[in-house]
Symmetry: C2
Subunit: 348 residues, 2 copies
Amino acid sequence: MAEQQPQLGARKGAVLRAVVEEYVRSGEPVGSETIAEHAGLGVSSATIRNELAALEELGYLKHPHTSAGRIPTDSGYRFYVDSLPAGGGLRDTQRRAIASHYAEAILDLEEVLKGSVQLLSRLTQYAGLAVPPNASDEPVVRLEVIDMGPSVMVLAVGHHGRVDKRVVDRPDAAVPATFTRAEARLAGLRGLTYPEAQARLLQLAAEGPSDEHELMLHVAETLRTAQQGDRAAHMVVGGVANLADEAQAWRRETLRRLFETLEREQDMLRVLSDITATRSALSVTIGGEHPTTGDLDASIVAAPFKSGDTTIGTIGVVGPTRMDYVSAMASVRAVAKRLTELATELDQ
Amino acid sequence: MAEQQPQLGARKGAVLRAVVEEYVRSGEPVGSETIAEHAGLGVSSATIRNELAALEELGYLKHPHTSAGRIPTDSGYRFYVDSLPAGGGLRDTQRRAIASHYAEAILDLEEVLKGSVQLLSRLTQYAGLAVPPNASDEPVVRLEVIDMGPSVMVLAVGHHGRVDKRVVDRPDAAVPATFTRAEARLAGLRGLTYPEAQARLLQLAAEGPSDEHELMLHVAETLRTAQQGDRAAHMVVGGVANLADEAQAWRRETLRRLFETLEREQDMLRVLSDITATRSALSVTIGGEHPTTGDLDASIVAAPFKSGDTTIGTIGVVGPTRMDYVSAMASVRAVAKRLTELATELDQ
DNA sequence: CTTAGCACTCTGCCCGCAGGAGTGCTAGTA
DNA sequence: TACTAGCACTCCTGCGGGCAGAGTGCTAAG
């Protein structure tokens, strides 16, 4: 990472880092004097002023007004984040909180995710969010069509513990025996992956007796949604109250839009998948780097978690661009790591 | 309702109603002049001032400071709400929105609830919330124990379309045949209600072979949680962004606490069950009338919905004490009515 | 019982001003 | 050449005073 960023010269980099850290800490625009005193560079504030002017020229800093200190731009945060060392940054209290949170074994991945999102929001004081696994590579362990009288419930259980249900109209031609036969056929699909089972079902629907036809199509449809769009219905969000904290300087209107965005799960899912598609490990999206976060002054720190070698989901935090990136990144990294261990273990 | 409230005299009542309506509309403390002009009582502002002073004495109004107008106290809102006529109050646009929302038939009650909560939040501009049915009187239509390799998934499906799952440790003594036998036994419980099935399971666990013992206890436990505490996991909340709107005068800190409370589902569930336990139809809780809403300046309007004659859940909205009660009550009443129709129809 | 009239109170806002923070520049120094 | 001290300048912020406005509460009269 640190190699890819434009060269700035060691001191400019140090000054920029100092501005970011001080601004994140205090929330006030940072002046040359403060940096000269605290950053330990051994130069006077006048020299710092020259550097600050240069950094502003380069687009890393900005000025609320003439006689105020500097605050970082999105690019400034970007430079800062890219210049951070790859690991570490976890405070001892955080490390302990993580350890004790996962001390109790929970077997249901969905529950684990909910807990992890809560944990992240407590660790960082931002909002936590997670995209649970979708069902592409997972084997199907159970498919059912349950006669509910006026309707039919279609149920699919995946090997990772995923359960999808849909309630659909009862086909006119269906009689009790239809369900018995259908279930027998469905039992034959166990062990196939979702896409395989879906394909096979379309075939069965075409071949099988006409009263089963419709049922099979419903099951196929259930499997299809389980593989993609339906993830939305299961996005996990927690700790949003943190975003309303006074420490976050969001204007009321921006805050409202932020909450709206968090509720439109489709949007958040697109952001997260955009993020994790481009980068394979821990990724940070800062303000305007993504259109959705841009006009919200929000940043997202997210990391994928895996089972074995395949990525099965994403977990992260949302906070203000003026975020404690060190702590957020360390927390997300650590939680994603634990999740990967857990998921790998649960699946084996 | 209107009979139970303390007698005030017609004009005092009219003045109080005028203050509430004007304050809800404008958000500004209301002065005697405004009322004299708009309320159409045909008396001068001086007379109104006397009435206002009396209403303040009685605890229905308060004064931010000497030279400001009046705003209602919680008791003031209470009087206002109790004096409202029992029905009506739905605007035409709202009526149409409700009709078109339910035009498309959805069979899954859980999905219907999510949609209804969204609908309510849009209708009222507050946050919607709902407690879905628990599983006390419902017949069990399917019970399963699924061998997931290192763990076991217990699955219970209720007749209303409810699905409960739990992932538990795989008993050491279990072999594949254990699951086949267990499922056969579980099939025998179909049609029993949750408590009946639970009782029967404890019996089966005691009688049955030892390798099934543990499985049966897990199933019994799943049924138990489905009947009570577990409801928390399914509380539906929507439109919380509305609460962050500038129109709502909540201080930042109060807003944060409000969001925290909404996230602690247990708390909200207790509030809602407290509410619906005491009143059978549409109920309104205003600020300090309940400890949880008291220091949040929040009110809750909620109504139960039923299937046939039994109450199966609750739906409502949360907003500021300075709420448009007429619109909120009408919307909640109408949505609860539709839900009752739908649930009754789905269950038959 | 109601009302007109009026003195009084308190807020909100505008204004101007002083203080302060921070910059940018220039000239001098290692 | 790179740094620094010094200083003029800019712009925000906070504060006090004064003024207009809203609204009350009281009194006295109808």
